[in-house]
Symmetry: C2
Subunit: 255 residues, 2 copies
């Protein structure tokens, strides 16, 4: 049974794209077939894969807008067991174009429920807001993973995010589960960083992954060489962290 | 003559809110009257000032939605020469509520053009997207300041941002000028960070501020103590950087 996981947080720059790319690669390394869905108009994941979001077609935009386009029409192989459904820059127009469409919140769900049997995991990258694109991703998913930067400003947004998620859960999709909160950009030598993780664990306890993603320059550089960090710098702290996260996720979530 | 500066970048987490709060405070320290406008539904700037975006009224939302609400009705003093027009969480509904309003791109401009005489600078914080809220800010502004994190993923988004800005410039507001690109979260010991700044200067040359904002934990901690960094840690690298930026901005931009 395919597990569909949305990675979301309206706070910007907390490691959503970085987590989809690197967790996806680490899960594929364990032998699972993984599809990465780029649902962010910035198309960072698509660029990371070496594709040009300005001249691509069909993309996740076509998947949402055109009834005739199926998921299998837009999937591209990235490497062994890893696939990508790329975004185009036109994705930014979705919110406006679907305003008066009745099933606007269910467009993605209708498209990906059928093809589940082909992959083991689908990971969805989302933009830094809780608009129609992110709602579509959540309504189409089984689970939600929330990266949280180990900074005060990132922490304060979590409650607002969870409130919105429960609204979506109650109105559109009662099966949606919170897979967990993932501390990111952790700086072990920083008291502030350690304090944020302590606060997250005390407020959200079992909902916080045991794995913490350390700040590691390898993650900032990996997109420039179009590789996940487990290929680019296999012995780095970041590679270790994402492999550990893949183990936690594959064993069914936080123990 | 009041200078209205929007701080924008659809890439998340690059230091937009941090720049509005700390540049604003540094300009006020030089003796200018400064109004900070929180136009981000995350209301990080409003929370930084110690206000509760869930129970505030009127806010910048009312300014956009209600013809009877004027800028002077929502301004609150923060400290000597520094004022804030706070955001409410309802700001997230603006995009949807104004979809079929004819003057939806000019709502803010109509409200702030009259009151200019009361302050020397207006700095506008925006969300990490290029939707209606950011368009309103740009159409109401004289100048645009773009913070760019010194990472590959942040750099690739600048071209897309400038394309959108020139569209807005040509269609709605020919007087809008690019004040400059501000390198942020700079890590001097990182070759990748130095490479990004070199690349920015070679591609955008005179458009890049001489000032570079270094990564400094004081900036991550300052929001938690509800102070700008020039008050919280006046001798920090970050305080020095934002004071230097204030000097560059006050002397009319990049020399
Ligand atoms: N653990 C880490 N260590 C160092 N750099 C990181 C780490 N995680 C992410 N980064 C870098 O930080 C920046 C922000 O990460 P990323 O773009 O993945 O966040 P995001 O949440 O997807 O941002 P957006 O909100 O714009 O979509 C990127 O330049 C990325 O390369
Ligand atoms: N120079 C810096 N050094 C260290 N931390 C910084 C620096 N600038 C910003 N920060 C921290 O990095 C995070 C991102 O900054 P900030 O929230 O200002 O970015 P933003 O562009 O406004 O994000 P968003 O896209 O979510 O609105 C915050 O936690 C902030 O405290
Ligand atoms: Mg992203
Ligand atoms: Mg912000």
């Amino acid at each position: 049974m395919t597990r569909i996981i949305t990675v979301a947080n309206q706070k910007g720059g907390v490691g959503k794209t970085t987590t989809v790319a690197n967790l996806g690669a680490a899960i594929a390394e364990r032998g699972h077939r993984v599809l990465l869905l780029d649902f962010d108009p910035q198309a960072a994941l698509t660029a990371w894969a070496g594709l040009d979001p300005y001249h691509l077609s069909p993309t996740t935009y076509s998947l949402l807008m055109k009834d005739s386009v199926e998921l299998k029409d837009i999937i591209r192989p990235m490497n062994n067991l890893l696939y990508l459904a790329p975004a185009g820059v036109d994705l930014a127009a979705v919110e406006y174009n679907l305003t008066s469409t009745k099933d606007r919140n269910f467009r993605l769900r209708k498209k990906i429920s059928g093809d589940r049997y082909q992959v083991d995991f689908i990971l969805i990258d989302t933009p830094p807001n809780l608009g129609l694109i992110t709602t579509n991703a959540l309504v189409a998913s089984d689970e939600l993973l929330i990266p949280v930067q180990c900074h005060y400003l990132a922490m304060r947004g979590v409650r607002a995010l969870l409130e919105t998620v429960w609204l979506i859960h109650d109105r559109f999709h009662q099966q949606l589960k919170l897979l967990g909160l993932l501390p990111t950009l952790f700086q072990p030598e920083s008291e502030h960083s350690r304090e944020v993780v302590r606060e997250l664990r005390s407020v959200f306890s079992k909902r916080v992954f045991n794995t913490v993603i350390h700040e590691d320059e390898a993650l900032a550089k990996a997109p420039a060489v179009r590789k996940p960090v487990i290929e680019y710098m296999p012995n780095s702290q970041a590679a270790k962290d994402y492999r550990q996260l893949a183990e936690e996720v594959c064993s069914g979530g936080i123990q």
